[in-house]
Amino acid sequence: MKRFVSMLFSLFLVSCAATPATTPTLIPFPTVPVKGYPAVSQDIKQVVLAEVQKPDVAFDGVLNVKVISSGDFYTANITINGQEYALDLLMVYERNTSVAAYPLVVGVLKGDTYMPSYSGYDGEGNREAYLDYLEAHDILARGRRLYPELYGDIVTENGIEWNRCGLPPLQCEVGAYMTQQYNLDEFLYQQMLGVNQPIPDGFALAWTWSAATPENTLPGFDKVVLP
């Protein structure tokens, strides 16, 4: 009996060895390179890392980042639910775990309604007056320290819940669109946006922001000298 069992076992081993191993078939996976904003150059990265302190990690109820203006202002059009929006954008460098470059929403135009994002502006609500103000006060100047923030019920542990938005409607609509379209809020929470992955073209930060100006900042510290 013993011999029979051992023979059976030997036969099993032999049969295993004889069966050719099935080689997994590699199916090529189509990789589509994400078209993103260009990476921050090394010299700019060094200056921002040295001059800007990383903000505190986000906590429930408040989310803030620190960015530096690149001075590059431009306008882009997007369509949300079939409606046209014109976004006035400023390319900025965010100081997070590293340094990321993406546009910050300066203002949103929808039809005849314009919504400024700079919290320090309390003038007329039309685009021309607002942009004139920003220019006159040099707010978008290259190197300017800017402080975008989001606060209130909208900022939760699970992410930004735009359906609770208490901000002006245009800002909420654009913000919600950015979250739905690009889903980058988690990276913003973790201060990892653009650190290990490119930031896709089209994304913009639609938060309210304030700025370091000569009125609220020690002389010489309202701007960072960028190369």
């Binding site: 923030e149 900022v155 700025a211 510290f221 309202d222």
Partner: protein, 350 residues
């Protein structure tokens, strides 16, 4: 090993053994010792000085991990050494920001200023390698932001949050005898909101609110005091806030002297200071009462919905008392008084 090598080793061993066994102690040459005595003392003194200066020498080199630097006051379990400092914090900008409840305040932006400690005998900062330089008489002033005014923030204060400027490293663990933090008293924001913005004395109000609206004061802000001993940046949590109002003496005098001439018998009705009260459940201000305290138990707190019945017209001082976790309290009279206007004349079209 070859036979030859083994033989050689054996011969060498027996040679050395012979030498050791044949060694005889020669008599002490006292003359030689006497001659060399100054050298011996000098050498001993040098060794003693070297040992004494060893920690400071390491300190100056920025590498005194062991032994701990006595000057920094650490313990064996919590060594505090004169380490190369990563830099000291300075508040450079104050920008408007909001807490989760939507209350505005001036948020700080900071920068790090590198310093150097090169004294041989201690770890005091000897050189500031960047700007702004906040080193004054051995203390480093971090600065702080003023209270928000409207939606505007002014420049940071430069002479606040001072602490001893040293390169002493190690953790500030008070349990094992390390740096024991002590905290500045809490600070109180200078602003508040008033609903209605121009209140009338209790009972003079007009419809639609009926004849007893009173005044609800909100948005009192407080910040816990910062650690001034260990430069840890830690702040005390706010534990309590109370608000009371007090008719200014000038207003009381005005009622007694001026107003009493116009309205016979006019006098000061209220007794002061007057504390906030709870409005009746059907009062318009009762809805506000549920959300009075925001951020208590944290360093940034806000007190809302303080309801008062101002019985007299005039200017009222608003006195805010704030206490923090270490039982330190501060009582502040806000710079802007509450003005309660007398509804004097009702004009009627003839």
């Amino acid at each position: 090993m070859s036979y030859r090598e083994a033989l050689m080793k054996t011969k060498l061993f027996s040679f050395l053994l012979d030498k050791i066994l044949s060694f005889k102690l020669s008599p002490i040459d006292w003359q030689f010792i006497r001659r060399k005595l100054p050298h011996i003392f000098l050498l001993g003194a040098l060794v003693a000085v070297g040992m004494a200066l060893y920690p400071q020498a390491l300190c100056a080199a920025g590498q005194c991990n062991e032994p701990r630097d006595q000057w920094c006051g650490g313990t064996a379990t919590n060594p505090k050494c004169c380490a190369a400092s990563a830099g000291f914090t300075v508040v450079i900008s104050c920008h408007p920001a909001d807490n989760p409840a939507g209350a505005s305040y001036c948020a700080e932006d900071t920068t790090q200023v590198p310093v150097r400690c090169q004294n041989n005998g201690d770890c005091e900062v000897t050189e500031v390698l960047g700007s702004p330089n906040r080193l004054k008489k051995g203390y480093w002033y971090v600065g702080s932001c003023p209270s928000i005014s409207g939606r505007l923030c002014e420049k940071p204060f430069e002479n606040t949050n001072g602490s001893r400027a040293t390169c002493c490293g190690g953790s500030d663990d008070s349990d094992d005898g390390g740096c024991v933090p002590t905290f500045a008293p809490p600070s109180v924001g200078e602003t508040f909101t008033s609903d209605p913005p121009n209140p009338l004395p209790w009972g003079q109000e007009q419809p639609p609110y009926g004849s007893a609206l009173g005044v609800t004061l909100s948005r009192f802000l407080a910040t816990g005091g910062v650690d001034v001993s260990c430069n840890s940046g830690a702040r005390q949590p706010i534990t309590s806030m109370t608000v009371k109002i007090s008719l200014q003496p000038a207003s009381a005098a005005w009622i007694e002297n001026e107003l009493s001439k116009r309205y016979y018998g006019a006098h000061v009705y209220g007794s002061y200071p007057q504390f906030s009260e709870q409005p009746a459940i059907d009062h318009p201000s009762s809805a506000c009462q549920g959300v009075q305290q925001i951020g208590f138990g944290t360093p940034q707190a806000e007190l809302d919905c303080q309801w008062f019945k101002p019985l007299d017209p005039g200017r009222y001082d608003i006195i805010v008392k704030v206490c923090q976790g270490d039982a330190q309290c501060r009582e502040v009279t806000l710079p802007t008084p509450l003005t309660v206007s007398l509804l004097d004349t009702t004009l009627v079209q003839p």
